[in-house]
Subunit: 334 residues, 2 copies
Amino acid sequence: LGNVNIVRVAERAGVSISTVSRVLNDTSYPVKPATRQKVEQAIEELGYRPNHLARGLLLKKTSTIGLVIPDIANPYYPGLSRGVEDVASEHQYNIIFCNTDRDTEKSKHYINALIEKRVDGIIIAGGGTDFSEEVSTFSQFNTKIILIGRHNLAFPSVQVDNVRAAHDATSHLAELGHRHIAFISGPSMLTSVQDRLAGYRRSLAEHTIAEDDRLIYEGKFTEESGYAAVQSLFADAVKPTAIFATNDRLALGAMAAAIDLGLRVPQDLALVGFDNIIMASYVRPALTTVAIPTYEIGATAMQLMLTSLAGETVPNTVHISTRLIVRESSGSKT
Amino acid sequence: LGNVNIVRVAERAGVSISTVSRVLNDTSYPVKPATRQKVEQAIEELGYRPNHLARGLLLKKTSTIGLVIPDIANPYYPGLSRGVEDVASEHQYNIIFCNTDRDTEKSKHYINALIEKRVDGIIIAGGGTDFSEEVSTFSQFNTKIILIGRHNLAFPSVQVDNVRAAHDATSHLAELGHRHIAFISGPSMLTSVQDRLAGYRRSLAEHTIAEDDRLIYEGKFTEESGYAAVQSLFADAVKPTAIFATNDRLALGAMAAAIDLGLRVPQDLALVGFDNIIMASYVRPALTTVAIPTYEIGATAMQLMLTSLAGETVPNTVHISTRLIVRESSGSKT
DNA sequence: CTGAAAGCGCTTACAG
DNA sequence: CTGAAAGCGCTTACAG
């Protein structure tokens, strides 16, 4: 009733709603300058803002993208989310973010909500959930999908070369002379963990170091698990002289445990982490780690999304390379 | 054309769209069980999903909330965002998140997009931007606003009692015998910084410690600034024996600088931070700090939003209390 | 250069 | 218990 809509603007400007729409969308469609000015003035005076819902209903485009992640509070995701959001924002897209905790129920619930809100696309990060049932829904609604990390779905993805990254990290320790290199990780159901374990093994093989299951510890991706891992490893007969941790939180927890056990890092225990969270450079000794460019991953995923939305061909997989950042905790002479 | 909409479902089930709508919205409106079942079957077979845009256009409700923050990559915001999103999700709301970098241009751009998308409400966190021009827009579009932190706007807000938190942190140091307590902070244009400075001063006064401007250092909320602060303070004639840092990143940067200068923490320099980011408990010495319950702040803000959306009275200000977490860096005997 | 009309996909009084 | 109709606020052929 009292709502300001395109009809009100048209009335005030003394033109039709078609003309208002043309001024609004600022296309190349010809509008007489005087008319345009009348319309602009009416818009200004009424404080009119076009209703994007009505527009979206007609055009079948919401300029909104869903971002499905395990947990924004996990240090890996703020940077990634920021990368997605920055690129989206540059192109007039907004991001709805969803925290699944890798829970299948929650994930399906979010996907459903995003479909009903008719997002133009969904970026899915972090494995652990099976979306194969939703694939037909995505195609039915023409929802573009971009994946981050390894999934068992046939959509374009942005991936880190985890095998190579873990290989390089392990080799760094082997080349410093270590023969008892432990591997501590989050849940082995995650493909990233599987890949890092493969890289670790390949490196051991290359350095003719025998594998030892007692040096492999699986927990969660938390400081607590890293702490527990060191306690467990050093309670065993075969003690490691070095640890490759599959994320920095594990490595930092491990470092805390080592110090509490009276072990010197890196002299008694060398440590390499993974992720290069900001704290890695501020702990003492500073943590040697694998840098994952999370912002770049997010930004790249959103770039692929834009490509897909433009109807262009999207590369199947884009690999983002990691970098080993050597600091004090690995005991390198550098 | 080929799109599955409510008309297709009605055709297939042999009923009117009114009936389909009633089944869909599952109200208390009576529908004969047999009819309901036919409709549900048609929905299932067609893979129908209601179009939330059309619904929103009619009901003037999008079940979407905007969250405007400075930067999700800043450690303060992931927890807060998660709190907002969890409560939102429980009530079938989704969150669009926007990173402003405290930039006025960007902020206005986001607010505009959110208004055009007709979000039901906007939660604005982090000061530094003036939204007074937008106030009339918010009321025109009936957009509910909830603020986090101190702003100069007349909307309900969730706030941390920064004065008291800083007072308690400073007093902790004073009571350990320190008389040269430095205050290092982010930009003093921020109300949170102003409040923490006020709390620091009040505590000094209570302990009859004279203020000394040379012990006050203003920088950014970064590790780099904390590092630089210690270098600067110790290059001066009046050296502090303790530092109260207005966030943990500053404190951790300060700790790194202290170690690099050969100072022992806490024996030569006691440190108290603010925020209790997860790393505070894993550095050695572990950092004494003020815990801000960021998740609770976000969750509370979203609760207030729900109250506001329900048309109920919203309290003007909800204070969230902080807690001093005493660890090793302050040198407490505890 | 401008306008009348159809239609995007829903919900909800109103009538039966 | 069910249906026909109006309307939410836009865009875009189509006609002039």
